[in-house]
């Protein structure tokens, strides 16, 4: 008898949803509306990643009015504010309570494999049998750290955005933050203000003002349709999915956070980290170009917004604005002594999903999950919450609604089809 066959069956349902973050809960709500029997399995507590995988000072990049889930808008008294990680966790937990989601917490999924009549979902607390599986385990479970980290001298402490909590964790002395997206910029600022001199290694990035013409930039991105842009309508879906998070921070003064602001606070900017040789970090000479590209793209977006504003004349907006180009010094620094100038390296180089427990023939050559807009290559398997899964907003909290609606319809059709197949098979047996 195989190991899995000998394991206890915890239950049989139509659909197992793995992960009780906002994606899994939204899916659960809509599966309930389709009368599909399901369970949501969660390794920690509901909204686990907001409770355990975020740094202390994190606030959402999206304003509160935007934070909504199917049938559940934000109802607080600070629509223009930005939730802390704890508040986001509470919002999601309250949603789970509101929808009476059938969540089993403290249940870690250790393996998913095909079984005779569907899938077997093995967990730390018994196995589930089901016809369909929804992977809602998050897009940002594991830090992506470049291989050259292995060449880091031993006297340099290394952290990632997953292990960093606050500056008190860090030794006194210089800090190299690698990566200049939302995470890298926010942490560079916090650490610099804590009194540790920060150098920020900047690769390709997305620059945005927090507020444009009196409105939050996210308002404009939503209003102009940028956030709703469909993956089928972009020239290069692969590239669109790799676009890093925009340089934004959610603070009460709605301040812009960009490379100019950081440099004003004393952060040094250098090019992308490209090598480590003899305890010397080597940076790319492409800094000027990546900054020029980011400025050009920002201005293109602002021009698009202006054009839209002229055609649609929303009320109460301010005059057009343009921002100072990113300041790059006459000469950019290409080397830095690790261990001497730099005591800590903080990798803010992105995150990726962890599907190591999926025992299905479902990965491409590079180990990424193969799917078309959330419908995986293996029938009956669905995935949620990945960047640009269906729309630009797919990995945001407010982006779940449309994706989940469409995918739950797909799942319902899948069940209709398999039921009618069974029925027609029964009919042919009867004849």
């Amino acid at each position: 008898m195989s190991e899995s066959a000998s394991r206890g069956i915890a239950g049989t349902v139509d659909v197992v949803v793995i992960g009780a973050g906002h994606s899994g809960l939204a899916m659960s709500y809509l599966l309930g509306q389709c009368s599909l029997r399901h369970v949501v399995l969660e390794r920690g507590e509901v909204a686990n990643s907001w409770r355990t995988e975020r740094w202390d000072s994190l606030r959402l990049l999206t304003p509160n009015w935007m934070t909504r889930l199917p049938g559940y808008p934000y109802r607080g008294d600070d629509p223009d504010g930005y939730m802390s990680a704890g508040q986001a966790a509470d919002f999601i937990s309250n949603y789970g309570t509101y929808t009476s989601a059938p969540v089993l917490t403290r249940t870690t999924v250790t393996r998913v494999a095909q079984s005779r009549h569907g899938f077997r979902v093995e967990t730390s607390r018994g196995d589930w049998l089901c016809q369909a599986v929804v992977l809602a385990t998050g897009a940002f479970n594991k830090p992506v750290i470049p291989r050259l980290a292995e060449a880091m001298p031993a006297n340099v402490e290394q952290l990632s955005a997953h292990t960093y909590r606050n500056p008190r964790q860090l030794a006194p002395g210089g800090v190299l933050v690698v990566g200049a997206s939302a995470t890298g910029l926010q942490l560079a600022q916090e650490i610099q203000l804590s009194g540790r001199p920060v150098t920020l290694a900047v690769g390709e990035h997305v620059r945005l003002p927090r507020v444009y013409r009196g409105r939050d930039i996210q308002w404009w991105m939503l209003a102009t349709g940028v956030l709703d842009q469909h993956i089928d309508d972009v020239d290069d879906p692969d590239r669109a999915r790799r676009v890093p998070s925009p340089q934004l921070v959610g603070t009460s003064d709605r301040a812009t956070l960009d490379l100019n602001v950081l440099q004003g606070q004393g952060v040094k900017i250098v090019g992308r980290l490209m090598g480590i040789r003899d305890s010397v970090a080597q940076f790319s000479g492409s800094l000027r170009n990546v900054c020029a590209l980011a400025d050009l793209k920002m201005n293109r977006l602002l021009a698009w917004i202006d054009q839209w504003a002229e055609a649609n004349t929303p009320s109460g907006i301010g005059p057009t604005e343009r921002f100072v180009p990113t300041l790059v010094g006459e000469t950019s620094q290409l080397e830095l002594k690790l261990g001497e100038d730099i005591r800590t390296v903080l990798w803010a180089t992105g995150s990726k999903p962890d599907f190591s427990w999926l025992d299905l023939p479902i990965f491409d050559r590079k180990g990424d999950l193969k799917h078309s807009r959330g419908v995986a290559d293996v029938p009956g398997v669905y995935v949620l919450g990945l960047p640009y899964l269906r729309r630009r907003k797919s990995s945001f909290i407010h982006g779940a609604e449309d994706d989940v609606r469409e995918l739950s319809t797909h799942i319902a059709d899948y069940f209709d089809r398999s039921t009618s197949q069974i029925k027609s098979r029964l009919r042919s047996v009867a004849i």
């Binding site: 090019g271 080597q282 790319s284 492409s286 170009n289 590209l293 050009l296």
Partner: protein, 188 residues
């Protein structure tokens, strides 16, 4: 979003490049190229390099002809100036790569080019190569490239063209980033 209805004729076969990109996505081994050069010392600082063949798409290729490059050093270096200085070849390579990129990106974005002129300047403190000051770098302390472009496009679109070409340029990457270099020798 583009204003052009005519198709740009910059002479770059973008369809072929995009086709190659699609095909090579699923054939990662074929995308591995090896570029080669050989060189022979002539006399003094005069040297002759040749480029004949390369490896790519899983097989060996020959250029239509063998290209020869004379390199030497100028008379101020007490040399005979039989060719461009090796570091000037780097600038030639950079200009060639960036300009080809500009043409390809322009074609892809349907921007008609009329003229593309690049001026390149690279600073070097020869105290490095003469071993006078170990803190001075041997190579360029910086490279400045200026493009003067006449095209049917706005200044902003032209800036975006040039920026995108840097993003895709092999030689830009080679000069901007550290590369592991191994030099060995044998007795013939």
């Amino acid at each position: 979003m583009t204003k052009h209805t005519k198709t740009a004729t910059n002479g770059v076969n973008v369809a072929a490049l995009l086709g190659a990109r699609e095909a090579l996505k699923d054939a990662p081994e074929a995308a591995r190229f090896k570029w080669r050069a050989t060189s022979e010392w002539v006399k003094g600082t005069h040297n002759r390099a040749t480029v004949a063949g390369f490896f790519g798409l899983g097989t060996e290729h020959q250029h239509r002809q063998t290209y020869k490059f004379e390199s030497d050093h100028p008379e101020v270096f007490a040399s005979e100036d039989n060719g461009a200085t090796p570091v000037e070849f780097v600038l030639v390579g950079l200009a060639g790569c960036l300009t080809a990129g500009i043409a390809a990106v322009a074609q892809n974005r349907n921007i008609q080019l009329h003229s593309v002129k690049a001026t390149l300047e690279a600073g070097m403190n020869i105290q490095g190569i003469l071993g006078i000051d170990p803190d001075v770098r041997n190579g360029f302390d910086g490279i400045k490239v200026h493009y003067d472009i006449d095209a049917d496009a706005s200044a902003e679109d032209i800036a975006a063209l040039v920026a995108q070409s840097q993003k895709r340029s092999a030689v830009f990457d080679v000069v901007a980033n550290p590369t592991d270099v191994t030099v060995t020798s044998s007795k013939s």
